[in-house]
């Protein structure tokens, strides 16, 4: 079983602040995905990173894949209340399945 550990589990910040959450593993993944889940809904894909060292930007969200393809980070600049949600990372190591982390619960206070 390939384990993905996400930290911190819970983060509460004021609107306008920056934040970074992390997704770490001892396993190498061929790709890694980040999803956001809002209450009462299913996860929705934000980004897929494939190449070690890759950086992708989605408006105020910046995603980075570690050089060794074992870890990833998500940085949010000037957080907005609409960024509130559970952020899930998921690694693809083969075997036709994604391994999900337990998530980073982010709350942005207006």
């Amino acid at each position: 079983t390939q384990l993905l550990e996400q930290s911190p589990q819970f983060l509460s910040i004021q609107e306008g602040e920056n934040l970074t959450v992390y997704c770490n593993s001892s396993s190498v993944f061929s790709s890694l995905q980040w999803y956001r889940q809002e209450p009462g809904e299913g996860p929705v894909l934000l980004v897929t990173v494939v190449t070690g060292g890759e950086v992708k930007k989605l408006k105020r969200l910046t995603f980075q894949f570690g050089d060794a393809r074992k870890d990833s980070s998500l940085h949010i600049t000037a957080a907005q209340p609409g960024d509130t949600g559970l952020y899930l990372c998921a690694g693809w190591g083969g075997n036709n399945r994604l391994a999900f982390g337990k998530g980073n619960q982010v709350v942005v206070i207006p």
Binding site: T1, Q33, G40, G42, P43, G91, W92, N96, F100, G101
Partner: protein, 114 residues
């Protein structure tokens, strides 16, 4: 676009009862998945299917059965429900089973076993 539709959205069962959760997707996806999500445990894969007529076990398959008789539908069955199966169940689908393809999720079925 409906995407992935799960029925029912909520259900309460008594221990020992059986039920079937239905997942339907209209995106012509080959791969379909059933997950359960519990507090502090994240999403765990129960069973999955790589195409019509195929099924395979995931991380936590015990107590569940699945069927994929039609490409667009993936059924999850609980033969004899137990309180430990109280959870939120998510169905997902993807075009193929590659890590660069997104998984599209339904909005979940909230199941309570008393």
């Amino acid at each position: 676009n409906a995407g992935v539709t799960q029925t029912p959205k909520f259900r309460v069962l008594k221990t020992g009862q059986s039920m079937t959760l239905l997942c339907a997707q209209d995106m012509n996806h080959e791969y379909m998945y059933w997950y359960r999500q519990d507090p502090g445990m994240g999403l765990r894969l129960i069973h999955y299917s790589v195409g019509e007529g195929t099924t395979a076990k995931g991380e936590v398959p015990d107590g569940y059965n699945v069927s994929r008789l039609k490409k667009q539908n993936f059924l999850l069955g609980l033969e004899s429900a137990a309180p430990s199966q109280t959870s939120v169940y998510f169905c997902a689908s993807s075009y193929v089973g590659l890590g660069i393809q997104p998984q599209h999720f339904g909005d979940g079925t909230r199941l309570s076993i008393l």
